[in-house]
């Protein structure tokens, strides 16, 4: 019985999509209700799975169920569900945060003419995301992988009449397609190296060391390409900042908390594949570490509140990827979990602010503490968590990532520098946007309850989820004492390693960064404008995001489009113009010439006929001998 439960978790949101598109498109309130109910139902159904899922992490059997989907010529593809500790955690994150954001959305999207459509898309997203989490094979995860890409495309371009939104949606889809190019090839390689696409069989085979290593290395790197695009790692990160064109709750749910984490989840799910190929794992680690620092530097100079958060998301995803690459799947997943809470909180808080001041520029804000106390307090908690200040969630998970990275000096440096910058830009953001005096005449006021209650719940989560990793029991929920690893790491639970030196350094760095940020922007210890003038080259490079968009723009419009035009020219001028029409012209010309033979004069016709007959006779006579 319990093995069928995950299917219901998966199909409630799909049911919601169908109900909304078929029946309630013209009834916004009903659509929201259906969508929220579906999300809540999925969340509730995850709860009974927690026990069996965690048991699976301690050597028990995972909850699985599979139905045949496609079978042809030796290829067997099924659709299945696989629930172990890793799955359960991801399910909880997705459904709980999803539920809160659904509720928040009813307030944020209130009065939008696409209200019903919005909730249909959100449910479509939930369905696709849960499909990724539950998938038990590569093909299935790819199918849902693409479907979340679709929902992301639809939700970014939700306000499709805005060219920027339409472009951003397209960009997100296409950049992800580039990643999929690698992902599909990776899956093909896995299939040909192992003869199966099922996770369990691939992983068991790997443990037995049955497969040739060369295709596996390539397979691992190619599968990682998919994760690079979805989790917006350098150099395929360019779509994520633009994705902020979508409604803010979408940014919170999809482009911060869950979907972008799918790449990290994929790495965790297929971790044995990477673990078998240490070289591939190193590539993962360095890409992650580089992205973390790279994005953090850009976040420092952004003025759009959502862009700061977007680059911070890139940077934090870099942490997760680096953690996994450094060999600690647990650290990556732990950071994913805490990040989901505090980043969802920050985005929703930003949404609440945008809702109130009608601007996304942090320099239009300021002095919000008194007017929007709940938003401000919760945002503060989220900021502390993101900055990695103890005892908030981000501190613990970041610490685990850094502990894993501490075996690699370069990675550790990248991570620590990022920690400093993170605390700095978070302090800058909070100081400018919330503290000081109001810079705008618009009277900002606190958002309605449907928006603030989710903020408070997320704030609570952002405060406490870190303790999971520290092995501290959370009353009534987990009475665990073995740390986060014991939840997600199938097979070998291990007690958390406490690297006190790493922990102390990271705490000091975070506090220093935050204090520095506050002093500069809150106390005027340093004039940012002067720094800007002094280091204007650096400033321009950062504001222009290292000219990555310009580079890709050139690649697309000059290289790709130029090549396309060349092909089109070849088709039109060479193939059609020269060969095809040339052939036609020759035909016409020869017809024109031979036409002259038909003069209509009897003696000419007789002459030709006679000549022909004579020639034939000659051929026959000669041929006869």
């Amino acid at each position: 019985m319990i093995s069928l439960l995950p299917w219901f978790v998966l199909f409630f949101p799909l049911l919601s999509v169908l109900i909304i598109t078929l029946f309630t498109l013209r009834h916004p309130r009903a659509s929201a209700a259906v969508s929220i109910a579906a999300c809540a139902a999925s969340f509730v159904l995850v709860l009974p799975l927690i026990g069996p899922g965690l048991a699976a992490s301690h050597g028990g059997a995972p909850v699985t169920h599979r139905v045949p989907w496609l079978s042809v010529g030796g290829l067997e593809i099924g659709m299945g569900v696989h629930v172990d500790g890793l799955t359960v955690f991801m399910l909880l994150v997705v459904t709980l945060i999803g539920l809160l954001i659904h509720i928040y959305s009813t307030g944020y999207m209130h009065g939008d003419k696409g209200f019903s459509r919005y909730f249909a898309f959100m449910s479509l997203f939930m369905f696709s995301m849960l499909g990724i989490v539950l998938a038990d094979n590569f093909i299935q995860i790819f199918i849902f992988w693409e479907l979340v890409g679709l929902s992301s495309y639809l939700l970014i371009g939700f306000w499709y009449e805005k060219t920027a939104a339409s472009d951003a949606g397209k960009k997100a889809f296409l950049v992800n397609r580039v990643g999929d190019f690698g992902f599909v090839l990776g899956i093909l390689l896995v299939f040909y190296a192992t003869g199966t696409v099922n996770f369990q069989e691939v992983m068991t085979g790997l443990a037995g060391g049955h497969f040739a290593t060369v295709p596996l290395f390539a397979a691992a790197v190619l599968v990682f390409t998919g994760a690079v695009a979805k989790s917006a790692q350098f150099p395929l990160h360019v779509w994520l900042p633009d994705a902020m064109e979508g409604p803010t709750p979408v940014s919170a749910l999809i482009h911060a908390a869950t979907m972008v984490a799918a790449g990290v989840y994929l790495l965790a799910r297929t971790f044995p594949l990477f673990a078998a190929e240490p070289q591939a794992l190193l590539i993962v680690a360095y890409i992650g570490g580089f992205t973390a620092l790279f994005a953090a530097t850009v976040a420092v100079v952004q003025n759009d509140i959502k862009r700061v958060l977007a680059y911070s998301t890139l940077s934090q995803l870099g942490y997760m990827v680096m953690g996994i690459g450094a060999g600690s799947m647990t650290a990556g997943m732990f950071h994913l979990t805490t990040h989901a809470c505090f980043k969802a909180l920050l985005f929703l808080g930003a949404g609440s602010v945008i809702h109130a001041v009608h601007s996304q520029d942090i320099w239009d804000m300021g002095g919000l503490f008194k007017r929007m106390p709940i938003t401000s307090w919760t945002f503060l908690i989220g900021s502390l968590a993101l900055a990695g200040i103890p005892p908030f969630a981000g501190f613990f998970s970041k610490d685990e990532v850094l502990a894993a990275a501490s075996h690699y000096p370069v990675l550790y440096l990248l991570g620590t520098a990022t920690a400093f910058l993170t605390a700095f830009y978070v302090a800058r953001l909070f100081t400018v946007a919330f503290l000081g005096k109001p810079r705008q005449q618009v009277h900002a006021h606190e958002s309605p309850k449907v928006m603030t209650v989710p903020l408070m719940i997320l704030a609570a989560l952002s405060a406490v989820t870190g303790w999971l990793g520290a092995g501290m029991p959370i009353p009534f929920i987990f009475a665990s004492d073995t740390g986060f690893g014991s939840f997600v790491h199938s097979g070998h639970p291990h007690a958390p390693e406490f690297h006190y030196s790493v922990m102390i350094i990271s705490a000091l760095v975070a506090v220093a960064g935050a204090a520095f940020g506050y002093l500069v922007y809150g106390r005027g210890a340093l004039d940012p404008a002067r720094v800007k003038d002094r280091a204007w080259v650096l400033y321009v490079v950062l504001v222009k995001k290292y000219f990555m968009d310009e580079f890709y723009g050139w690649l697309v419009s000059a290289v790709q489009q130029g090549w396309a035009r060349l092909c089109a020219w070849f088709d039109r001028q060479v193939l059609i113009g020269t060969f095809v029409n040339g052939l036609a012209a020759i035909t016409r010309w020869s017809g024109d010439k031979t036409r002259r033979l038909q003069t209509g004069q009897l003696h000419a016709a007789l002459l030709i006929m006679g000549g022909g007959a004579a020639a034939l006779l000659l051929v026959l006579l000669l041929g006869g001998n």
């Binding site: 045949p68 989907w69 496609l70 079978s71 042809v72 010529g73 030796g74 290829l75 093909i139 790819f142 199918i143 849902f144 693409e146 479907l147 679709l150 371009g157 499709y160 009449e161 805005k162 060219t163 339409s166 472009d167 397209k170 889809f173 296409l174 397609r177 580039v178 999929d180 190019f181 599909v184 090839l185 093909l188 299939f191 040909y192 790709q560 489009q561 090549w563 396309a564 035009r565 092909c567 089109a568 088709d571 193939l575 059609i576 060969f579 095809v580």
Partner: protein
């Protein structure tokens, strides 16, 4: 009883033609309804045939054999295996949708529907013929109305395009016919019994040299129709000039005749020839996919975009055929089906707004979703299907081709996988260019598809894409009964190849 079902499918449009002949030209609604009913019956019969086909036995079923000209070995001989059934289903669905899309035509309604039904009779005939003579007859029956349909009801340079298309289709078929006649003569000489009967011809094993020399003739003749690069140039032009329903049939169904004939005559009758030459085809398919995709990317006319994308997608079909693997071959046939439905959907929708905007140039359009939300959504679905989005049949077909071809042709597969990136680029650009962004005020008077009969064809085609996308085994189980023996036959031939080469 079941042996008559194919004949009934064939007779349904003929009956329609007869009824319409006796209707007055002014009775437009009656004419349209007649066409809708007979094609609806055809669709129902085809679905029935697919459902009652015995998959445990496989092979050709519903066989009916009526001798016609006995001393030449010609007979009216029809039958269907898994592959032809899927093609019949495709044809029946596209023509049924096409009849509704053509509803808007007010000019010479009677002639239009008669020609449309004649065309589809020919296509049905091709897919069910087990006699080479009738195969060719039906093929010409399908091509001839095409010329008139484009030249009379078409747009932009219609006479030139109609002429070009007809010349190509006829010329290709003629080359193939020469090959088929050589086959007929050789078989007759060897066995002493001259026959056009495919079921008998396919039992014969022709000498290796003969197969290797003859295969290119038959293959190239039909490859023109596929269309294989570099013989594709007739096809986008033809699409552009044709009226909506004709584009639907042309890209949706007619192009599939080429690939179907390659399977029937090339692979089945000349397996050694196929085994010898198909590696070349695998590499040529790369040109179809990449070149077609890039040319599509540079187009501004939306019909040219879809037209070139069709030739790009046919590259996947060629690759699936060339890899000689049950999975890949099933993928190729599935692709023929999925692409046919998807492209019919897109052409039908383009026709819908072109009738109102009178331009198909993407830069002139934009923001149409505001006025045409239904058309916008349907087109987006079609475009996403075209880019192989999971949840649509197109994804499954591409996946099967990739998996099937990877083992022997990794390079073309890499190109093919990259092809889905290219497809997504031009398709999403087209969607964004036509339907998203701000809308020019001049499009404020456009009207959406609101009536049931206006929406029906598009909803039907989308439903087919989605149903087979989520439950592909419904179709793949049928396809593989035909694809598996064929793949095996060519594989066996491959193993038997000696080192002989014409070079």
């Amino acid at each position: 009883m079941t042996s008559l079902i194919l004949t009934a499918i064939l007779l349904a449009p003929i009956l329609g033609i007869l009824i319409i002949l006796f209707l007055p030209a002014a009775a437009k609604t009656a004419i349209r309804l007649t066409a809708a009913v007979v094609t609806g019956v055809g669709l129902a019969l085809t679905v029935t045939a697919c459902a009652i086909y015995d998959q445990t036995v496989s092979g050709y079923q519903f066989i009916l054999n009526v001798p016609w000209v006995e001393h030449l070995g010609i007979s009216f001989h029809v039958g269907a295996d898994g592959i032809s059934l899927v093609m019949l289903l495709l044809t029946a669905a596209v023509i049924f949708a096409g009849v509704f899309v053509s509803w808007r035509i007010e000019d010479r309604v009677k002639e239009h529907y008669i020609l449309l039904l004649a065309l589809v009779t020919g296509v049905f005939g091709v897919f069910m013929s087990l006699d080479m003579f009738f195969f060719y007859l039906f093929y010409e029956l399908a091509v001839a109305p095409m010329y008139l349909l484009i030249a009379v009801w078409g747009s932009t340079d219609k006479e030139y395009c109609a002429m070009k298309l007809t010349l190509y289709l006829t010329l290709g078929a003629l080359i193939a016919l020469a090959g088929l006649l050589i086959l007929y003569a050789a078989a007759g000489e060897a066995t002493g019994e001259y026959t056009f009967d495919l079921l008998r011809l396919r039992q014969l094993a022709f000498p290796e040299k003969f197969q290797i020399l003859l295969f290119p003739l038959i293959f190239l003749g039909f490859a023109v129709i596929v269309p294989m690069w570099p013989f594709h140039t007739w096809s986008p032009l033809g699409h552009a000039a044709a009226p909506a329903s004709v584009s639907m049939l042309h890209a949706g169904v007619l192009m599939k005749l080429g690939a179907f004939a390659i399977l029937r005559f090339g692979l089945d009758l000349l397996p050694m020839g196929a085994a010898y030459w198909l590696p070349w085809v695998a590499y040529i398919s790369m040109f179809n996919i990449l070149y077609g995709g890039y040319v599509a990317m540079a187009q501004k006319d939306i019909k040219f975009i879809i037209g070139y994308s069709s030739s790009s997608h046919m590259g996947y079909v060629l690759l699936g055929i060339a890899c000689v693997d049950t999975v890949g071959l099933s993928g190729a046939v599935f692709m023929m089906f999925a692409h046919g439905i998807m492209t019919a959907l897109l052409f039908g929708l383009v026709g819908f707004f072109y009738d109102q905007t009178h331009t198909r140039m993407v830069p002139d359009l934009g923001g149409l979703s505001r006025q045409l939300p239904f058309v916008g959504v349907a087109f987006t679905i079609g475009a996403l299907a075209s880019s192989g989005l999971p949840g649509t049949a197109n994804f499954v077909s591409e996946l099967l081709v990739f998996i099937g071809a990877w083992k022997n042709y990794p390079l073309p597969v890499i190109a093919a996988v990259f092809g889905i990136v290219i497809t997504a680029v031009y398709m999403l650009r087209a969607v964004a260019g036509v339907f998203f962004g701000p809308m020019a005020p001049k499009w404020g008077a456009l009207t959406d598809a609101v009536k049931f009969r206006e929406r029906l064809p598009y909803v039907l085609l989308i439903a087919i894409l989605v149903v087979f996308g989520f439950a592909p085994s419904l179709l793949v189980d049928l396809i593989k009964t035909g694809a598996a023996p064929l793949a095996e036959k060519v594989q066996t031939a491959q193993a038997a190849l000696t080192a002989w080469s014409p070079f």
